[in-house]
Amino acid sequence: MMKSPFARPGRRARRALALALAVATVASLAACGTSNNSASGGEVELRFLFPEYSAKTTPLMKTMVDDFNTANKGEIKVNLETAPWDKMHDKLAVSMGSDQAPDVFGYATRWISEFAGLKQLAPLDDLLTADFREGFNQKVLDAGVYEDKTYGLPVAVSARLLFYRTDVLEDAGLSAPETWDDLMEAATKSANPPELYGLGVPASGIEVDTFFNYFLYNNGGDILDADGKSMLSEPESVEALEFLTDLVKSGGSQPEPSGFTREQVIENFKAGQLAMYPTGPWLTAMIKADNPSMKFAAVPFPTNDGKEQQTVSVTDSLGMSANGAHQAEAWKFIEFMYQPKYRQVFDETEGMLPELNAVAESAYYQTPEYKPFIDALATAKFQPQHPKFEQIQQIETVAIQKALSGLASPQEALDEATAKIDKL
């Protein structure tokens, strides 16, 4: 037998090594499977999953969670987990599917019908005391109601207004647009391509459907009727998409909107390359940070002459797992989180609108930048609840892309969308 520094170890040593490897493998696999819900010395552990709205979210939530853990030392310990917003649905769906849902979690309000239908969300009505309930903006609180039960408390409320550059519109001799005629005039007259385009129209990536809803809602249209059937082929909807298509064709936006995502259009607006773009209150903070000399204002989205004004509004929700072992403790944590001081710093930092009346009345939200958004919540229209809403959004997005890139007429594109939605 050859002897070298790398000679094979003795039989016994080899067997021991192999056994050790095998044991280690099994042990590490077993460790993956064990639940981390084990309470030590009577302390209840809760898992709290919250989406990242910005880089500031995690430290912000950690401070609040630490305060709670200190106040409840020895009784409840909350473990904070955060995830990028666009991974939240995957993460929640996967954890729910494997019975590992967090005890408390943030999620998009439009997922309520899906998650509640799968019996994953706990109804909160019995836990909500009258006092606690009254602290909320009632219209915003109602966004979390599905089939007469409250499943989610509002968090990260936004209302979308039309931002416009006051200097550009003044130079064109125009005032803030109130009707669609004003909007068309402002979009085409203020443009000076390629340095400056009128209205930012993003038709790629996320929220293409939300963008179209500004037009749809302000023409008296809607996505779904009370029975969950598509209303996208109704004359109001077709007229809205025709208007948007005409606006693009008339040079009122960048040509070929399918080449632009929401993120790019926001960059373009901040860089002064767009005269108008509708979005949420966070844009104010972004402009102040990146282009502080820009002159801008925000107004409710224009309506087609005589139609009722509607403000596209989106909320996220905070909910409780229907299958959590410690619901009383979880609710205690939720009540703790909704103290005005925590909501105030969260809303201000993330550029969101207040869900609590106490926060809305604070000086910060009564400034000219924020007051219009708070007022606009009075005409707020939230996303519909439909168990397959994600699919509907996808179908609506495709219809808008087809019309805007000339692959189909608005009527054809929307008829196709209706056929697909009604088959779901």
């Binding site: 039989r11 493998t25 769906a93 632009f260 996808q394 805007l404």
Partner: protein, 294 residues
């Protein structure tokens, strides 16, 4: 030898078997099961569905279009990459000053993650204030920015170009390795026989690079067919699925729409397609190699 030797051997490979089993085989089995089941939006299987998910694909016009687009994308990227990589490999095989630097530079884009490459390209191709548009406008070659990712034609051109650029490093390095194994005596003998550059290229270089060409083409086809980051970051299929490939479409169906059943059926179909392609391709090339040796 002691009788327990095979057992000890098994214990040694157990960690690998377990890891491969958990990470590779379990997902394949789960996907296969899903493709024959009704699946809810939490990806839980809810009963046997027979071939319903597969039948749904046949009536899905978007799926058929995306399948054709995927084949187009794969052939374009792999074909052009291979053609471009051969001269790159030949050049890098020459003796010249700065050869090491040139080789190192070629590796850099390969070392960066595909996602990062794709995100950078998204901004390079931006329709309003990108490097490309800015340069072309300053040179007065265009007077309006080109919205590269705005319409089907230019978007595909851009996606394929980026796909080629990120595939070149791997391909040319593999080919370079193949070139280095060609004995220089062959070229010297050919030169004595009066063969020029093209003659030795056709009769020595290409035939001897055949095995490495086959392997890189096979690997490239599999990588490119399944390449998610580039099409996803650049267009997300916009407008209306016209720039989707199968993997991005599967992702949309599964994770944006919660349609895990049909998505799993598509994933199985890709698996079978690529498996069939690999087997056929290696079979054909083996046959031809045998003939060549004779």
């Amino acid at each position: 030898m002691p009788r327990s030797e095979p057992l000890v051997g098994l214990l040694f490979i157990l960690p690998t078997v377990v890891l491969v089993g958990v990470i590779v085989f379990y997902p394949i089995v789960e996907t296969a099961l899903m493709s024959f089941s009704n699946v809810n939006s939490l990806a839980q299987r809810e009963g046997f569905a027979g071939l319903a998910n597969y039948q749904a694909l046949l009536s899905d016009t978007v799926f058929l279009r995306v399948l054709a687009q995927t084949v187009f994308w794969t052939v374009a990227v792999v074909g052009i990459t291979t053609v471009v990589s051969i001269p790159v490999a030949l050049a890098l095989n020459l003796n010249f000053h700065g050869r090491r630097l040139a080789r190192a530079l070629l590796i850099v884009p390969w070392a960066a993650s595909l996602m990062i490459n794709a995100i950078i390209w998204r901004w390079i191709l931006d329709g309003q204030h990108s490097i490309i548009n800015g340069t072309l406008m300053r040179l007065h070659l265009i007077d309006q920015p080109i919205i590269w990712l705005g319409s089907e034609g230019t978007a595909w051109a851009a996606i394929i170009l980026v796909g080629i650029l990120v595939s070149i490093p791997f391909t040319s390095f593999s080919l370079l390795a193949g070139l280095q194994s060609v004995p220089s005596e062959l070229y010297e003998a050919a030169m004595v026989d009066g063969a020029g550059f093209w003659a030795s290229f056709w009769h020595i270089t290409l035939p001897l690079m055949r095995p490495v060409l086959i392997v890189t083409t096979l690997l490239n086809v599999i990588y490119v067919f399944n390449s998610f980051p580039i099409p996803w970051v650049l267009t997300q299929g916009s407008p209306a699925y016209r720039t989707d490939i199968l993997v991005t479409y599967i992702y949309k169906r599964a994770f944006a729409e919660g349609q895990f059943g049909p998505a799993a059926a598509m994933a199985m179909l890709i698996f079978v397609l690529l498996l069939a392609f690999s087997l056929t391709f290696s079979h054909i090339t083996k046959e031809r190699a045998k003939v060549g040796i004779k």
